[in-house]
Symmetry: C2
Subunit: 249 residues, 2 copies
């Protein structure tokens, strides 16, 4: 028995998120089905980041155990031949059988993209949230700086979350404008449920003038979800990078 | 009766091209249906560029005549409310009733995008042609230069075309690499049927080493479709810009 690690990219538009659910297709359920068919073994993946419905990823990570004779690095090709066009493996390799992607130090980088224009652009609709409102990007940049560091992010956590410890460390949080796209990029050692989308929704309120940049500090201190802005729509969010720290992976 | 000009953006993935066809939904047929419903008049648009099945556009142009009282600049909003998410108007205004978008000087800019990587990336699949082959981008840059200027592009025209005059003027033809994307950008005063896709297919042959950059000169001189490379897949092509020249439009 060996453990294989997959790097998984997907367009989340047509899925009910990562995690297997009673109703609706998920990334995990498609992977399990295609792997089980390919390997002729009942296969269940363990995912690193259980992204929400409609969220995209360039590099999520999953591991599974198998007795297959297919060389580990060839599994990516064999699996891609069975996967739909909106889920594709970016690499496969053998890892230590004790490796669990959620039980080790990691750094995740997310991007939240806003397409700002007078009219929606069809070719941007799937991977950016459209908004015709004017945003003051300089204010958003200033506000994002308050996220950097170690803080209690309870105000930026969905009330549906069961997390007991809501302290998280953000290594990077910045906003940039590229043509019609406003991109919020954040990197940290773990995130709470809906955290990036609530951060993005709050930055949008700052950009619109409904909040001041320094209000982010006040919102963090409030430790209350209702102090922050709304949860921004899922389509704008993409998991860009997943790094495992203090390991050879 | 007044003539209205629409700037039309679309994701061509799910359409059989611009032009109305007996079978299959087209951009034109969706526009005609939504306009007729909105205006309560039988409405038929005249398109500027009749893009192929699967090709995208950020800024195609269409005109139509109407008696509506809706202010010309508000038509974009009213029409967008009825259009699907993959077709959206980017602007509307009144033009001279004699204005015909195919009977006036114009400059069109196209991009052909190749996503080059070991594995396909789901979030790039709709707007770039995936290829795992190695491309020598410097050779492609060199080859693209031969397109610039006024040439007989018969070799780069589909044999299905009825065009009698195959001389066209290219003002710009360049290749650049942005991460995993190789982008061929070409601007000219009119293009032949499948021309950009045959140019892109030929540049890909140069990039792979199957043709030399200077072979483009020989292919132009051959004036024979079979001398050029294959027609690159439609999904990689996007009409980026449409400029009307010698007019106030």
């Amino acid at each position: 028995m060996k453990r294989i690690m997959l790097t998984v990219a997907y367009d989340g538009t047509n899925y009910h998120g990562w995690q297997r659910q009673p109703n609706g297709e998920t990334i995990e359920s498609v992977l399990n089905r295609c792997l089980s068919e390919l390997l002729q073994e009942e296969t269940e993946v363990i995912g690193a980041s259980r992204t929400d419905s409609g969220v995209h990823a360039l590099c999520n990570v999953a591991v599974f155990d198998t007795n297959t004779n297919i060389p580990p690095d060839k599994l990516a090709y064999a699996l891609n031949a069975r996967l739909p066009a909106d889920i594709k493996i970016q690499g496969s390799k053998e890892v230590d059988t004790a490796f669990h992607p959620r039980h080790c130090d990691s750094r995740k980088t997310y991007e939240y993209r806003i397409y700002h224009a007078e009219f929606p652009m069809p070719t941007e609709r799937l991977y950016a949230h459209f908004s015709y409102t004017h945003y003051d990007v300089e204010r958003m940049k200033e506000a994002a700086r308050y996220f950097v560091g170690t803080h209690d992010f309870k105000s930026f956590c969905s009330t549906d979350s069961q997390a007991e410890n809501t302290v998280r460390q953000m290594e990077r949080a910045e906003v940039e404008k590229n043509g019609n796209l406003i991109v919020f990029r954040v990197a940290g050692r773990g995130f709470l449920y809906n955290m990036v989308r609530i951060m993005a929704g709050t930055l949008m309120e700052v950009g619109r003038g409904n909040l001041e940049p320094e209000d982010v500090k006040r919102i963090l201190e409030a430790k209350n979800r209702s102090a922050a802005g709304p949860t921004a729509p899922a389509c704008g969010l993409t998991l860009m990078k997943y790094e495992f720290l203090n390991t050879n992976i």
